[in-house]
Amino acid sequence: MSERKREKSLGVIVGGGLFVLAGLAAGVAGAQGRSGASAALSIGDRIPSREVRMLSVDGSHRTIGEMRGASGTLVVFTCNHCPWSQAWEARLTALGNEFRERGVGVIAINPNDPDAPASARATFDRMQRRFAGTSAAAGTRFSPDTYEEMQRRARDAGMRFPYVVDGTSDVARSFGATRTPEAYLFDHRDRLVYHGAIDDNPFEESAVEDRFLRDALLARVARRRPSRAESRSVGCSIELREASGAPE
């Protein structure tokens, strides 16, 4: 078969987002087959791993259970290095800071292995080139998933809620979390009422049309069901640690 004919015969869509091709293909970034993940939580499921102690950026240990609020609990898996987590960081911080004051317990969890391949740097560099000039790309920089860098990011962002280390990645597994950032909002009875994205546009806040998480939080404090219970967004695969089978 001629090369031209081969080119017409198939298509390989690489990277998922179509805006980062080839470089996110074989051998670059992503989980290393360390799954062991549980099935994804369904709306109505209860909070898993409530009593797992996780190291927070202030040096204390926190559990999801002790962060529960009178109106509900927001758990967000996020990290330092992912360009999507960085793009949404200010908005997530603002939401967390606002709604903790309104009775929603908030906790951000970094599930990543900080020793993940250096390919994460390659991914970041490609995203910087692609989104150069956008509001979210400005000011972002490669940020390894170390504890010290978590402390710096939390301080610089002004987080007033815990940002903790999922030291075995088992908490992420118990949620069935697949990417960063990924949000889970539970009601006052610990039942999942919203799962998914923060909003519909990570890199251009001015172009956001659907503020999924904010709308869900407003519904929660009003003791109403969110109008939209689930949404999806592009993000970085969680760099899971080797499955331990035991919490930290």
């Binding site: 998922g16 805006f19 980062v20 051998g27 697949t178 967004s233 592009v234 969680i238």
Partner: protein
């Protein structure tokens, strides 16, 4: 290049995709998704899958 809502894009690309990157799809000449990978793809494995799909396409001509 993708523009617009992630949610609608993800749904349109593949209903089982969570949005996590990397995500790789192998599409045959009929527009059918042959395989997907939701994590790092071994180069040899990907090459073999492509060759298999091409060979299957040749066999149908």
């Amino acid at each position: 290049m993708k523009h617009g809502s992630d949610d609608r894009f993800i749904e349109a690309l593949h209903p089982d995709w969570t949005g996590a990157l990397p995500f790789t799809l192998l599409v045959n000449a009929d527009g059918e998704v042959e395989r997907t990978w939701t994590e790092e793809v071994d180069e040899e494995l990907l090459a073999a899958a492509i060759e298999h799909t091409l060979a299957a396409g040749e066999g149908e001509e």
